[in-house]
Symmetry: C2
Subunit: 421 residues, 2 copies
C-alpha cells in the first residue's frame, strides 16, 4: 500500500525484520548521526575487526616479529583468495589470488588470454565497461596490433546480448565485460554470456568489481575463464586495498602471464637464474604482496561470509527495490528518471537516477549528510550496501533528496564537476 | 689499535659520538633486549610515527571521512614520490611516483624503454641482478622477441664494467642494473655506467631497492633515464609497501608505458571513451593507489630526511667498516671470508660473509637473537642500517657469531634451507 510504503514507520518495520541488522554494529562509523552512507559501492566503510587486525599486523607482527613474520604472511594472498572463492565468487580453492590492483590484474589476465589465442585479432568489450577496463584493453590492442571491438550498451539497461552475439566470431580472442555495470548496476547473465563467448572459441574475462560481495557470483559453475575484482567496495578492505584475480583451474598452467616476478617463482629464495613459475595460481603473483592490504581483505571477507552472500543478496535486492519505489513516488514528479534495471534480478546493489542537475544534486545531498556519488553524464548513484545499510537510511536519504530537489536548494552550488570523485 | 677496536668499550665510544643515536628511539622495538636486528635491508622495522599515521589513516580518514577522504589521498603518490626525490634519490619534483610493486614498475618502465628503442634487439643485465629484475627482463625478452644478454658479475665485487662495455653495442635497447647488489652490497658507479650506456645509444634502468635510503643517489645529476626502488627496506614502510619509479623529465611524455590504467587518465572522473594519459609522471600510475602503504612511505621518508642522507651514509659506512674489521679479527680465523667490497666507497650498507655453513650459521644466529639472513649459495648477509643500528649491536652480533662458529653449535640444526627467507 502506497501510504504505508512512503511512511517512515514502514522502513522501521523492515529494519525490525532484518536478519542482518546486527552487522551494522561491526563497523566504525563516524561520530555524525546525520550521516547516511550510500557509497560503499565506491569505498566500503571500516569494519572494527579490520581496524584491530591492521593494528595487530602493524604492532605485533611487523613491529615485533619483524622479518620473521614472513613465515605467517607468505600464504596470505592464497588464503584470502580462497576465502573470496569459497564465500563470494563460487570458486573452488586454488583459483583465486589476492594481488596487485584490478588494473594490473586485468592487464595480466587479458595479456595471457591474447597469448593463448594467437591467431585471433579482435578483443571485444562494451562502451559501458568500467574506464580502466576499456583503457587497459585499448593499450593491449595497440601493443599487440589487434582491433578493440567496442559494442554499444544501454547505459541504463546494461549489456546488449544481441550486439555481443553480433560482435562475436572466429576472429575474437577475448571478451572482457563487467558483471555488474558501474553506472546503472545492470547485472549481466554470466553463465549465458560465457556460453556465447565459448561458442565463438574466445575466452571471457569478467570484471567483478561491482558484483563481488553484492550478488552471488558463480565462476566455476558458469564456466568462466578469467575474472578480476576489487576489494575496497563491497569487501570493505580499505582505500586502494589489493585486488583479486581468478583463473579457471585448467587454464592456470596454460596461460602465461606477462609479468614474471619473483613471487611467482618456484623455490623463490633459491633465486635461481631462470624464471620457473610455481605450479598453480601462485604463478599469477608478481612482486612482494602488500601485507596490510591483504589482511584487511581477509577480515572484510570473513564479515561478508558471516552474513552469507545469499542473505546479503536478498537484503540488497529489497533495499534497492525500496529505493526505487520511493523514487517512483517522490522523485519522478520532480524530474528524476530511473537509470537502472527495474527488475531486482537484473540489477546489482546500486541504483542510478537520471536528472539534468545530477552533479549539483549529488553535492547538495552530501551537504545534507547523504553520501552517494555522481556519474557522468547525469546520474546520481546510490548504493545501499546490505551489510550495514538500514531501510530507514534509504527512507531518510530519499526524503532529504526530495526536499533538496523540491526546494531547488542545489542551485546555489557550482555547476562545475570536481575532478576527484 | 686492534685491542681497542675489539673491545666492547670501543663500540660504546662510537655510539656515544653518534649524531644519529636519537633516531633509534623513534622505532617500536620488540620487547626483547637480546634482539639485534641486522635485516633492515630486507624489511625495515616499524617507526612509531608510521604506526600512529596508519592508525590515523584507518580511523580518522577511512573510518570517519569515508569516500570523502579521497580529496586528501589523491595526491599521495606524487607527494611521497617528490619526498623520495628530494631527500633520497636526487630527483627534482615531478619525476618520482609511488605506485605498484618494484616488479610491476620494472615491467612498466622496461616495456616503455623497449618501445622507445624499436630497432634494437637486445636487453642487457647481469647475472647478479636481483631475481625479480632478471625474471621480468626474461619475460619481456621472450614476449618482444629480443635477446637478453646476461653479463657475468663477480658476486663479491659487483658489476664488471669491462664486461658491460663489451656487451654494449648499437643493438642494445636497454640496460637494467642494480645500484647496490642485493648479495654483496657492491655499489655501482651510477654516473659512469649511465654514460657508458648512453654512449651506446641505449637507455638505463636502475634498481635502487638496496640503495635508496642507504647511500646517496643522484638520479638527475647522473643523467639516469629510469629507476625503480622499494620502500620496505631502508625506507621502513612495512611489508609489501608500494614501490616507486623515476622517469627523467624529458622522457616522461616520450615513453608510453604499457598498462593503461584509469589513475593515469587525464580528467579521470570524466571516464571518457579514449585513454588520454595525464601529462607528467602521473601517466605511469595504473590502478587505485594503496593509501595505507603510501602513507607509510611518506612517514618513512620523513624520518630518513630528518636524519639526512649524508649523515646516514657516513654512519652506514662506519658501521659496515666496523663489522668488516671485527670479521677480520674474529671470523677469518674461523673460516669466514668477506664477500663484499672492502672499500667503504664501493659498498652499500650491508655486508656478506662467505662460509660453507652459512645457512645453518644464519639460523643459529637468529636463535641467538641476531637477525640477519642467508643468501645463496653460501652467504651470511648482515645489514646494520644506520638509522637505528648501534655500534654495540654490531659488536654484540659479531661476538655471538664468533662464539657460535667456534663452538660449532650450528651443527645441530637442519641443513635444509627454508623456502620462506
Amino acid at each position: 500500500m502506497s501510504t504505508a510504503l512512503t511512511s517512515r514507520a514502514y522502513a522501521e518495520s523492515l529494519d525490525a525484520g532484518d536478519p542482518l541488522a546486527g552487522f551494522r554494529g561491526r563497523f566504525a562509523w563516524p561520530d555524525d548521526d546525520r550521516l547516511i552512507y550510500l557509497d560503499g559501492n565506491s569505498l566500503g566503510p571500516l569494519p572494527t575487526a579490520t581496524r584491530d587486525r591492521i593494528a595487530r599486523v602493524v604492532a605485533a607482527e611487523w613491529g615485533s616479529a619483524l622479518v620473521r613474520a614472513w613465515g605467517e604472511w607468505i600464504d596470505l594472498p592464497h588464503r584470502a583468495g580462497d576465502l573470496i572463492g569459497a564465500h563470494l565468487t563460487g570458486a573452488a580453492p586454488g583459483q583465486v589470488l589476492v594481488c596487485d590492483s584490478t588494473t594490473v590484474n586485468l592487464f595480466k589476465l587479458a595479456s595471457a588470454a591474447l597469448r593463448a589465442r594467437p591467431g585471433r585479432g579482435v578483443i571485444v568489450t562494451d562502451d559501458d565497461n568500467f574506464p580502466t577496463d576499456r583503457y587497459v584493453l585499448q593499450g593491449l590492442a595497440a601493443q599487440s596490433g589487434r582491433e578493440l571491438r567496442v559494442i554499444r550498451s544501454d547505459i541504463d539497461a546494461g549489456l546488449d546480448e544481441r550486439a555481443l552475439s553480433a560482435a562475436l566470431g572466429a576472429d575474437v580472442a577475448l571478451v572482457c565485460l563487467s558483471h555488474v555495470a558501474y553506472r546503472s548496476g545492470a547485472l549481466a547473465d554470466m553463465a549465458r554470456i560465457t556460453d556465447l563467448v565459448h561458442a565463438a572459441g574466445a575466452l571471457v574475462l569478467w570484471d567483478l568489481c561491482h558484483s563481488a560481495g553484492a550478488v552471488p557470483v558463480q565462476l566455476d559453475a558458469s564456466g568462466a575463464d578469467l575474472a578480476v575484482g576489487c576489494t575496497y567496495k563491497y569487501l570493505n578492505a580499505g582505500p586502494g586495498a589489493p585486488a583479486f584475480l581468478y583463473v579457471r583451474r585448467d587454464l592456470i598452467d596454460a596461460l602465461p602471464q606477462p609479468i614474471w616476478g619473483w613471487f611467482g617463482q618456484a623455490d623463490q629464495f633459491a633465486m635461481g637464474p631462470e624464471y620457473d613459475p610455481v605450479p598453480g595460481i601462485g604463478r599469477f603473483a608478481t612482486g612482494t604482496p602488500p601485507v596490510l592490504g591483504i589482511a584487511a581483505v581477509e577480515e572484510g571477507v570473513k564479515l561478508l561470509a558471516a552474513a552469507g552472500i545469499s542473505r546479503l543478496r536478498d537484503k540488497g535486492t529489497a533495499l534497492t527495490g525500496y529505493l526505487i519505489s520511493l523514487a517512483d513516488e517522490w522523485l519522478a514528479p520532480l524530474g528524476f528518471e530511473l537509470a537502472s534495471p527495474r527488475a531486482g534480478a537484473r540489477r546489482g546493489c546500486h541504483v542510478s537516477l537520471r536528472h539534468p542537475e545530477a552533479w549539483r544534486l549529488s553535492q547538495a545531498l552530501i551537504a545534507a549528510g547523504v553520501i552517494g556519488d555522481y556519474r557522468t553524464p547525469d546520474r546520481l548513484r546510490l548504493g545501499p550496501a546490505p551489510l550495514y545499510t538500514r531501510f530507514t537510511d534509504v527512507w531518510d536519504a530519499m526524503d532529504r533528496l526530495r526536499r533538496i530537489a523540491a526546494a531547488r536548494s542545489y542551485e546555489d552550488l557550482p555547476a562545475e564537476r570536481s575532478r576527484v570523485t
